[in-house]
């Protein structure tokens, strides 16, 4: 039926078997996110899933043990907005797979709703391990560019095939109503929203007249059939429309359009979101916040403040904290730590990089906390995960322990000594 969704379905059906091992992480302070810390707790993992969490967990004979005494055990971190897997080197365009470029369109109102990034994901990307060994186990890898950039997918950051990584596809349609998204032509705000409404109207009209369309008996639509089709789950309120917007009034505009079309929304960035926090709370629209963002980089962000996340939470808005980074997505914990420094309770900040994004993207049944039945993405830290001096000791993804190696650590080790034998080291 729906060809643009069939990619996603194929990916999910093909998902590979999880690790069959039984692993017990013992002795650590277990922070499950959904409950209080458990001192001397055990996390039992079987078949890639969490089998048990608690202070008194029976450990099956033959289980592999990871001693976490004196350490912290938490769910893996969930980066909610990144291009990970879709780029190797920023300035090397042929490695950029997050954007369908339209050289003709300088107004920034390009629509690529049918573009799903999945086929571009490179499971062997050198970028992925750099953040993975820092405890980031899951990411929403998203398209960028244009008015409607396309469809994002949620992936676990381990696997040899995209099929082995995908959690859900698509998880959101990404759009951009920010000043930076308006392209070299600098189209007016009202022009961008006019275009967005036109596309949504077209998608609605197309859905009502599919047979007529196939017979060539409808008016022309402003975007391709694939785009119109891809927008159906968005119009149905099943797939969120994740809109980058920063100025308070722009966020209110997004909410307005959401009401007009009955959309499920996510605000991306939301620099001035705290100024319209009650509107967001009332509409139950979550915000993906980059915490270290207090400069008026544009006129849309004069209200930038490090306290954005804290103020939004106080108003009852759902918040996920994002690094907003691809190469440096590991800085998500620094972002969360700074949210604490600027007023967000620690538990809220940690939730904002684990369970909150899982909920926002509709995968909290499997991700975001240490609870029986959930996917075993687990990190063992040698201290408070948000502290910069804390080291990662173990990372498990889908129940498999991932070696703490990236190209960056390999180069480091290669140059630990400077001698002529260097070139013959791994």
């Amino acid at each position: 039926m729906n060809r643009s969704l069939s990619i996603a379905a194929a990916l999910l059906l093909a998902a590979g078997p999880a690790a069959a091992q039984t692993i017990a992480i013992t002795g650590g302070t277990v922070y499950p996110v959904t409950g209080a810390p458990i001192r001397g707790g055990t996390v039992l993992i079987q078949n890639g899933r969490i089998a048990a969490v608690g202070a008194n967990v029976a450990i099956p004979a033959g289980a592999q043990r990871i001693d976490a005494t004196g350490k912290w055990v938490t769910p893996g971190l969930f980066e909610s907005s990144t291009n990970m897997g879709l780029v190797e080197v920023g300035a090397v365009r042929e490695t950029n797979d997050y954007e369908i470029r339209d050289a003709e369109n300088e107004r920034g109102d390009q629509v690529a709703a049918a573009f799903n990034v999945a086929d571009g994901i490179n499971p062997r990307s050198m970028v992925i391990p750099v953040s993975r060994i820092a405890g980031v186990t899951t990411a929403v890898s998203r398209p960028s560019g244009g008015l409607i950039a396309g469809q994002a997918i949620a992936i676990d950051l381990d696997g040899n095939r995209v099929e082995d990584m995908v959690i859900a596809s698509p998880v959101a349609m990404f759009a951009d109503l920010s000043e930076s998204g308006r392209g070299a032509g600098g189209s007016a705000r009202g022009g961008q929203t006019m275009r967005l409404r036109e596309v949504l109207e077209d998608a609605r009209a197309w859905a009502r007249n599919r047979q007529a369309f196939e017979r060539g008996e409808t008016r022309d639509f402003s975007v391709s059939r694939l785009d119109l089709e891809a927008l159906q789950p968005v119009l149905a309120g099943r797939e969120p429309l994740a809109v980058e917007a920063h100025r308070a009034s722009d966020i209110q505009t997004v909410l307005r359009i959401g009401r007009e079309y009955g959309l499920k929304l996510i605000i991306v960035g939301g620099t001035e979101a705290w100024m319209v926090a009650s509107d967001l709370a009332q509409a139950r629209v979550p915000v993906l916040v980059k915490v270290l963002n207090n400069l008026p980089g544009r006129f849309e962000s004069l209200g930038a403040t490090y306290e954005n996340a804290a103020r939004l939470r106080r108003a009852g808005v759902q918040v996920a904290i994002t690094s907003g980074e691809t190469f440096k997505a590991y800085n998500i914990r620094q972002e969360a730590g700074n949210a604490v420094a600027y007023g967000l309770p620690w538990e809220e900040a940690f939730r904002a990089i684990t369970l909150a994004p899982a909920q926002i993207y509709g995968v909290a049944d499997r991700y975001g906390s240490l609870e029986p039945g959930k996917v075993a993405n687990v990190v063992v830290w040698d201290g408070d995960p948000l502290e910069l001096l804390t080291r990662v000791d173990h990372v498990l993804i889908r129940g498999r322990e991932v070696p703490l190696v990236s190209r960056e650590t390999q180069l480091r080790d290669r140059y630990r000594r400077i001698d002529d034998a260097r070139a013959y080291r791994p």
Binding site: G90, P296, G303, G324, T326, N338, R412, I418
Partner: protein, 470 residues
């Protein structure tokens, strides 16, 4: 957000400045009067008008003092008198009537110094009108001075102050091989750049190698290649040497016509004479080695390599020439020359005896240089390089002070130095710690608990919502 790939490319163009300046704080003189004895650099035509803000004698006591001169003093005391550090120790003799600040449970360090900033020359908001950091009209613009681009009302200055930054080097960008002169600024509110200029700080010259200049000039007459960049660099140095000789002859003989002044070559001769410090944007190890050889060829010193993503690969060469490394904790990936990063870069160069410096090149990063240092400390620990707090603090204070040639005035808490001091809410290497109070020359310039000690720029007046920007 997530404009990262593009933003980084642009930032990378902006990145790469370096420079230093040695404008002695003397009054402007009318015209260049060649001396009969020796060629000398031109007078200081844009002198600093900086005056410290009013201060009272202050005793900070009870905190953990990281002096950046090697000591960590628990329950220590720091006395500030007349804008200078008067005494530091477990106990000090304080005059009667001194203002006492209880720093129990908190940390006291020197003011943070960033030797690589574009505040003011790429001011917020980042609109085209504020793009004043790259004079990308020809590959050698040694004649431009960053101070002539700095907008003192950049709100980024205030944000940096709230992050503990008391001194910054503002550099031209890296589009050019010779980007121009840098300027060292005190992070104080001022109507004019002159009011921020650090008295007695030498000028710097920003040089750049690698991808940026050849990208900018590759189809604009060159250089188009790395070898083209080196050739253009060397031709420029030859011209500078000839210019110096011409003036020296004039000074010696006073015969014939007095040579014309040339602002570009004056800056370069300032480098050859050791008055102006070279801040060299360079990512790759092999390119740093080339730049070092070129400095030997023409007889100048490189004060610091900036960005140096591959500095760890040539840390022995940096150590041999006493070149500092002004580095990021973890920036990488945005272009080919930024590919071979390791988070251990700072720790590795530090271990090799190189002065390691955490620089920002970024208006957000500058606010959290202490956190960037913490990440680099952790990366070192992973390979057994243990850097104590008392040493790591030097990465953001004493070492950049050295790179800027102002280490006899700032960078440590030692008697006689300028009283640039930060009181932190806790250990500065904790993510939860914030700068509580910031002193510059003994004056309390920022107090996060006192709204009357939180400056605002003109740009923020009547434009920003209340409670924004913190």
């Amino acid at each position: 957000m997530n404009r990262a790939p593009y933003a980084l490319v642009l930032a990378a163009v902006a990145a790469c400045s370096q420079g230093q300046a040695r404008p002695a704080n003397r009054p402007a003189t009318p015209a260049q009067q060649p001396s009969a004895t020796a060629w000398r650099p031109p007078a200081n035509p844009f002198p600093s008008t900086y005056r410290p803000f009013p201060s009272t004698a202050t005793l900070i006591r009870g905190g953990t003092v990281l002096t950046a001169a090697g000591q960590e003093i628990r329950n220590g005391q720091v006395l500030l008198v007349d804008g200078k550090i008067a005494a530091v120790g477990a106990t000090v003799d304080a005059p009667a009537g001194v203002t006492i600040i209880d720093a129990t449970g908190r940390y006291v360090t020197p003011g943070v110094i960033d030797d690589h900033s574009h505040l003011g020359v790429y001011a917020s908001p980042e609109v085209q009108s504020h793009s004043d950091g790259n004079e990308a009209t020809q590959p050698n613009t040694a004649e431009v001075w960053a101070e002539h681009s700095v907008w003192p009302q950049d709100p980024g200055f205030i944000r940096a102050l709230e992050g503990g930054v008391t001194t910054m080097q503002i550099l031209p960008g890296s589009a050019n091989l010779f980007g121009g002169r840098s300027v060292v600024l005190k992070n104080v509110p001022s109507r004019t750049v002159q009011g921020m200029k650090f008295p007695g700080a030498p000028y710097g010259l920003k040089m750049a190698c690698g991808e940026n200049p050849k990208r900018v000039y590759g189809n604009r007459g060159g250089p188009q290649t790395r070898m083209g960049e080196m050739a253009a660099d060397r031709q420029s140095w030859l011209r500078a040497i000839a210019y110096r000789e011409k003036w020296e002859r004039w000074d010696r003989e006073h015969t014939g016509t007095q040579p014309d002044r040339d602002l570009e070559l004056e800056t370069m001769v300032g480098v050859l004479r050791g008055d102006i410090l070279v801040h060299n944007h360079c990512y790759r190890a092999d390119e740093m080695a080339q730049m070092i050889d070129m400095s030997h060829e023409f007889g100048y010193r490189i004060r610091s390599f900036h960005h140096g993503v591959e500095a760890y690969k040539v840390r022995d060469l940096l150590a041999r020439d006493s070149i500092s490394g002004s580095l990021w904790a973890d920036w990488w990936g945005f272009k080919m020359e930024a590919l071979d990063f390791t988070r251990a870069n700072l720790a590795l160069v530090h271990e090799a005896g190189v002065r390691a410096i955490v620089h920002s090149d970024d208006p957000t990063g500058i606010q959290k240089l202490n956190q960037e240092a913490a990440k680099a400390m952790e990366a070192g620990r992973e390979i057994g390089i243990i850097v104590p707090d008392s040493t790591a603090i030097r990465w953001i204070t004493a070492n950049p002070a050295w790179a800027l040639g102002i280490d006899r005035m700032v960078g440590t808490l030692e008697p006689g130095k300028n009283a640039d001091v930060v009181i932190w809410s806790g250990n500065p290497f904790s993510v939860y710690t914030r700068a509580d109070q910031v002193f510059i020359d003994g004056a309390l310039m920022f107090d996060r608990f006192n709204p009357n000690r939180r400056p605002r720029t003109d740009f923020e007046v009547g434009l920003f919502p209340a409670e924004a920007g913190r």
